[in-house]
Symmetry: D3
Subunit: 136 residues, 6 copies
C-alpha cells in the first residue's frame, strides 16, 4: 500500500458567526473571526489517497487525473468565493477549517470511488493552523 498526496489551493472569504446567538456572544466566542464584513485566507488542500501501484504504470492513479478531479469538484468551486454564502454544500455549516474539511470529504469521496481510496484530507488555513480528517 502506497499513499499519494496531491496539493491544490483556493483563496476564499469567510467569517465565524452563529445566527442563533447575540452579537456579543459571537464576539466573545469568535473574536476577530466574527468581523461582520468577512476576512479571508489562502487555503491549501492536501488530498491523500492510497492503493497498490500497478506494475505497468507504476501507480494506482495518475497524479494528473487526481489533480483534475480535486480541481473540478473542490478547489475551482471554492476559489474566490465566500464560504458562508456562495457554496450550496456548505450552507448551514459553520465554516471553520474543521467543518470545511469534513464537507470536502463528503463532496470529494464519491468521485474517487472505483479509482482509489481516499485516506486523509489536510486543510491548511494559515501557516500556523491546519486540520486533518480521515473520514470518521
Amino acid at each position: 500500500m502506497v499513499y499519494l498526496t496531491r496539493i491544490e489551493n483556493f483563496n476564499a472569504a469567510h467569517k465565524l458567526y452563529n445566527e442563533a446567538w447575540s452579537f456579543e456572544k459571537n464576539q466573545a466566542e469568535f473574536g476577530k473571526c466574527a468581523n461582520a464584513n468577512w476576512h479571508g485566507h489562502n487555503y491549501k488542500l492536501e488530498v491523500t489517497v492510497k492503493g497498490k501501484p500497478d506494475k505497468a504504470t507504476g501507480y494506482f492513479i495518475n497524479a494528473a487525473e487526481l489533480s483534475s478531479i480535486i480541481k473540478r469538484e473542490i478547489t475551482e468551486v471554492l476559489d474566490h468565493k465566500n464560504l458562508n454564502i456562495d457554496i450550496d454544500w456548505l450552507k448551514g455549516v459553520q465554516p471553520t477549517s474543521e467543518m470545511i474539511c469534513i464537507s470536502i470529504w463528503k463532496q470529494l469521496s464519491p468521485h474517487l470511488e472505483g479509482k482509489c481510496q481516499l485516506h486523509k484530507l489536510k486543510l491548511v488555513e494559515t501557516p500556523n493552523i491546519y486540520v486533518e480528517y480521515y473520514g470518521e
Copy 2:
C-alpha cells in the same frame, strides 16, 4: 548601510470591483476577483528599513520595536478585515496588492521618522504573486 527586514502577517477579505463600470465590464476585467461576495488571502508583509548600526547595540533599530510599530499601525489594523469596506485609509482605493502596498507606505512611513529610513515594502498575496514598492 545595512538593510533590516521584518515580516508580519494579516488575513483579509477583498474584491476587485469598479463601481463606475457595469457588472459585465467588471467581470471582463477582473474575472473571479470580482466575485460579489468577496474572497480573501493570507497576506505577508515584509518591511525593509535601512541605517547604520550603532556599535553599542549592534543595530540602528531594535527589530522588536520595528515589529511593534508595524503591528500597531498596519497589520493589526488590517487583520481579519474587509479591505474594501473596513479601513479608513483604504477608502476609494482599488484594493489590489499594488495599491494596498502604496497605501501602507503612506501610513507607515511617518511612524518610522527619526528612527530609521523606510526602504522597501513587499506584499505577498499568494505563494505565486507579490508586489514591491520603494516609495516612488
Copy 3:
C-alpha cells in the same frame, strides 16, 4: 474525529553533553553538538489535538485558545533560554529534540485536560531534522 494542529516557535541554546563521561567520549558521541560554549536553534513546535467539532462553533477547541495555552505553558517559557540550564522541568534531561518533545508532552497535556485530547507533538530542530511523539 478531526485533528487540529497549531504551530508555535521558540529560539533556544543547548548542547549535548553527558557529565558522567569524559570530554573525549562526549566529543566522540556528540561531535560538534558537544561544543562547550553552546549552540542554538529556531525550534518549531507543532501541537496536534483531536476531538469532535461542536455544530454551534464548528470546532472542539478554539485555535486561539489552544495557541494561548501552548505559548503560556511551553514556548514563552523556552524562548530565548538555555535548555540545559534555565528550565526547571528539563533539569537532568539530555536536551535532544527527542527528550525535549517527551518533556513538553508531560508539561502540556495536563493543561489540555477537559478541553481536548493531545494527539501528537512534532518538534522541528532544523529544516532537515524533526521528531514526533504520541505520548507513549
Copy 4:
C-alpha cells in the same frame, strides 16, 4: 516510542514509459511525463525511524549517523543520475515516486537493522506531489 525524521535531497532525470506499449499508448497514459528526451526533478526524501531514546545520549540513533547512511546508500547514489538507466536496483522499475519509494525502502532498510526501525519514507517529487510508504 519516538519518531525521528531526517531529510536528504537528490536531483535526477526520469521519464515514464512502458516499452511493452506503443508510443501512442504511452502518450495517452503518461502525457508529458513520457517525453522521449527525459525531464527531471529536485526530489526530497524524508526518512522516519522509530525507537526508545537512551537516557545517556537522549536518542536511539544519532541523526548525523542516520544522515550518513541515507546519503551513502541512497541520495548520493541517485543524485545527478537518470533513474531509468543509471541505477542497478531500479532496473525494470517504472520510476514513478511510488515505485522509487518502495525500491528505496528495500535498499535502505537492511542498513538500519540493529540500529533502529524504519517507519516511513516520504518522497516529495514536486511542491504539489508526494508519496509515503510504510514498508507494506
Copy 5:
C-alpha cells in the same frame, strides 16, 4: 513605480557538457553535472515587471494576464523537456541557470512590450541555488 512578481514552475532535464572538450575535461569542470544520461530539476521562475498602477483597475498589468504570457511563451514550452535537446531557442547554449535565464529574457521580453516593462528574472534551480538577471 510598483514592481509585480509572478511565479511559475517547470520541471526539466539537463546536463552540463562542452562537446569541444574531452570527457575528462568535462568531468573535471562540471563534476556530477556532466552525467552522460542527464539529471533534472524543479525550476521556479520569478518574473518581475514594473509600472505605474492605473487608478481604475489598481494595476498596470493584470497578474492573470502576466501568468498566461509566461506560461504560453516560457514555462509550458520548457516543462517536462530536455533543455539541451528539445528547445529551439536553447540550441547551442550551455544550459546553466545563468544562460537559461538570459535566454528566457530574450524570449519573453518582446511579448511584454506595450504592456509593461520587464525588470528582473529570477530562476531557482535548487532550494540552495538561484540566479537573477536584469537584462544587461
Copy 6:
C-alpha cells in the same frame, strides 16, 4: 551581468549584551535577547556574487566551488558555535545579524577576489527577521 546566489546554513548560540552597561540597562535595551545563559538560532546565509558568464562553461563561477569557499571560510567556522565567545573575527562585535553580516563580508570577500565580485549578503535569523548588506 548575472547574479548567482548560493545558500548555506549554520546553527549558533549568542546573546545581546553590552559589558559597559548595567544589567538593568541591558535588560531594558535587549529584553529577552540578553538572557545570561544564551539562546540560539538556525541562521541561513545567502551569498550573492555577480559576473559575466563564460560561453564555454555557462557561468562565471561554478556554484559548487562557491559553496566550498563559503562553507570553508564562514559556515563551517560558525556552525555549532557561540558567536560571542568562540570566533576570533567576531571578538568585540555585538553579535546582531547586522554586525555578523558586516563581519562575514570582511571575512569572505578576500577569498572571492579574482574569481567573482561579491554583491550582497543576506542573513536570515528567524523566519521573520533578516538583514542584507552590500559592502558599504
